[in-house]
Symmetry: C2
Subunit: 211 residues, 2 copies
């Protein structure tokens, strides 16, 4: 993976979108595609596509276009989704249920192994095939099941404490839906999904268009 280190963070941010389009092409049975055709589909300039994808090879002779499957596989390696990741969901409310019920994550190798809540009324209830577990099982479950990622779909008041618990138990990365910063040690990976902030960016764009 040495050569991937030179790839700029701007390219990395664009990779999931390439990955999605290449996956759709594979589903449609497309084996090769030119930068011009991909440009028309993705509404990105062909020159940007050439610059981005030339980081990963997979381009044959001039006029033959990209090898779709090869590029797809290379990008999946860069993104670390060429292997599986064990994940838990903490918070069995609507958002936690939405994550458990989405098949999209499992398809990309994110395996939801457990779902937890502090509401004893939910004990032994199920979301799909997964039984809702209580918080006193959390630490042992993370250790026994080699859990790498914890998604926190809980209110912000509880988030800092739960984050500390899962990290102490061995979780490497937190997918944080709680609307607060977690203040964890710097070596813990945190990816925030702050829905309110996304909605504010949207209203900023509305306000500035109206001016």
């Amino acid at each position: 993976m040495e050569e991937t280190k030179k790839i700029s963070s701007a390219v990395i941010r664009r990779l999931p979108r390439y990955y999605r389009y290449l996956g759709e092409l594979i589903e449609s049975g497309v084996q090769r595609i030119s930068s011009k055709e991909l440009s028309d589909k993705m509404k990105v300039t062909a020159s940007q596509i050439r610059q981005d994808l030339n980081n990963f090879g997979g381009f044959g002779q001039q006029g033959y276009g990209y090898n779709v499957k090869y590029l797809y596989d290379e990008i999946s390696k860069i993104l670390g989704i060429d292997r599986t990741h064990n994940m838990i969901i903490v918070g069995a409310g609507n958002l936690g249920q939405a994550l458990v019920n989405s098949g999209d994550f499992a398809k990309r190798g994110f395996l939801i192994k457990g779902v937890f809540d502090n509401n004893s009324a939910l004990k032994n209830k199920k979301i799909g095939a997964l039984e809702i577990r209580m918080m006193d099982e959390l630490t042992a479950f993370i250790r026994d099941n080699e859990i790498e990622i914890a998604a926190l779909t809980i209110p912000k008041q509880a988030a800092k404490e739960v984050a500390k618990t899962v990290v102490d138990a061995g979780v490497k990365a937190i997918w944080n839906f709680a609307h607060t910063d977690l203040n964890l040690p710097e070596d813990v990976i945190v990816e925030n999904v702050h829905l309110s902030e996304s909605l504010m960016r949207l209203s900023y764009t509305i306000a500035n268009k109206e001016e």
Copy 2:
């Protein structure tokens, strides 16, 4: 609002986080705060805070710190959340329910006026106080209720068609949770929340730390 046009997009992206911290300070009864104190809270350098917030004024004499409420109000104007926005949710699954049940959006002036689904088994059922409506009411409802924003929490197969319907009915902005690009006219505002892509960025960070 003319002077706001000079604010860089990097500052704009950081504004929702300032807004959140300033809101928490107001809740705690704090009236003034120095850039040093805010810096310690937010884990951003004091110099970045001064540069960012000096765009909006609200800083008194040296040594007096920022007027928290003034800055909060100025930022809310810039973000367009000093007024209310009427919103609908299309898709009454777990994710749609999570949005309807979250009080956070209403607090910031995003008023969820209706929720829609194409599953007739949900007809007349309620999420909280809101009745789930069928898709044949969608166009009239948008017109009658001056709906500005539609959140799409539906599968990607249906998203492009529904997006076109709501835009034709007068919606200005789409908050898109469907994992696809919508290919709408350029004057339609789209804010994407692609959860799979967020999770891939997280796994990229895990993969690159392990190297």
